[in-house]
Symmetry: C2
Amino acid sequence: MKKQPIGVFDSGLGGLTILDALRRELPREDLIYFGDTANVPYGSKSKVAVTKFSLAIGRFLQSQGVKLIVVACNTASAQALPQLRRQLSVPVMGVIEPGAEKAARTTRNGHIAVLGTEGTVKSGAYVKALLKRRPQARVFQQACPLFVPLVEENWTAKPAAELIAREYLAPVCQSGADTVILGCTHYPVLKPVLAKILGPQITLVDSASAVAEAVQRFLTRRGQAAAGGRGRVTVFASDDPARFKRLAASLLAEQIATVKLKKLDL
Amino acid sequence: MKKQPIGVFDSGLGGLTILDALRRELPREDLIYFGDTANVPYGSKSKVAVTKFSLAIGRFLQSQGVKLIVVACNTASAQALPQLRRQLSVPVMGVIEPGAEKAARTTRNGHIAVLGTEGTVKSGAYVKALLKRRPQARVFQQACPLFVPLVEENWTAKPAAELIAREYLAPVCQSGADTVILGCTHYPVLKPVLAKILGPQITLVDSASAVAEAVQRFLTRRGQAAAGGRGRVTVFASDDPARFKRLAASLLAEQIATVKLKKLDL
């Protein structure tokens, strides 16, 4: 069990921010990443569609012998987690609970804002997870549908990114929140722009390090953590692996050797 | 045959600009529109994926008894037209040939620029179609990957749209082109912004009216044009029909009564 890999999946490139954190925190683990580039983006699609994609990926990762699946996509975590847990035999961890946990510990005034895709915001998953931990919290949600295309196109340093972010963040600045959750695994790439607009008095919370810590606790508790040596990273994409590899370079500290094509059985 | 509907499809909302033109030019025809909202966008996906989506839609429209299929998506026209023609028994018309025809007639200095998705630009389909008509033409291509998300999010009137357009169009302005093809059915929605940036000396060519005229000629020649009465419009979307209907309102002159959900058999 210790030697089995951890499976990680996302709609596309964004989940690489989680892969990066896992690689840093758990360098001994073998990791299998699946980017569903044939179906990206998930954020504007229905719960039925997102669940179907997620289950197909979950089944594939399970067939690769993983010991744990990390859903490194907030939309899929918000919409498909119960189904994944019901239909797969390996444990499945989402990104919302660890992120909400961290934000609930971070806020001082109890006002928290959540940035996410349309699907994540509509699900209310962060609101539920936050109120479970801090029933008095005030939660403000803001959908930011253009952030994913900006990241997927590697345009985050362009002036357009800041202009778009200013539009989305205006109501967030007015909400009184002292803590802002980056509720989409693509958003950490936009951190410099977001931090500039929100200012130093607001804390940005992303779930990457929180998820990595949760994975570490989970494996240690079960006695399943890999021992010795440096783990390998294997990357699959459901469409255009060459494009994925090229764009991944801007999101990962480490270079990916090859990206394999794996079409989903939907 | 005269009473059979015309099938029209696109990756999402953009093809409604073609539907709108068909409705205006051929008000007697019954039209069936299919928006592949489960798989949008096509522009950043591989030829294999775009062909698979297009064939599944083509088979569905054929099962609805259409007399002609209009591929109202430049990426699908550029990448999947030969396969569609090979595998379907109804005639299939793309948007690239009519658009190239119009641009070749419009240009005065023989310099033409094409704006399109990554997929359309990579295919070189417009370059081929233009050089067939004007072998001496100079063709400049520019991929504009963020335009589709801007339109799909209904953000075309926001300042970010202009900023993004200025970035994409800078090399177009320097290319010496006097004619610019809007080589994606989403782009006509951005016409006011694009015209402002390019100035009055550059002519914008979109394929919507050119396609409608080509369809009219085709049906007349075959004696298949509908006679009398006002045709009906039926709309299908492969995901989240309610969202599709809401966003379609900004693209169509006419209101859509209902949008039906139809999942593709891939």
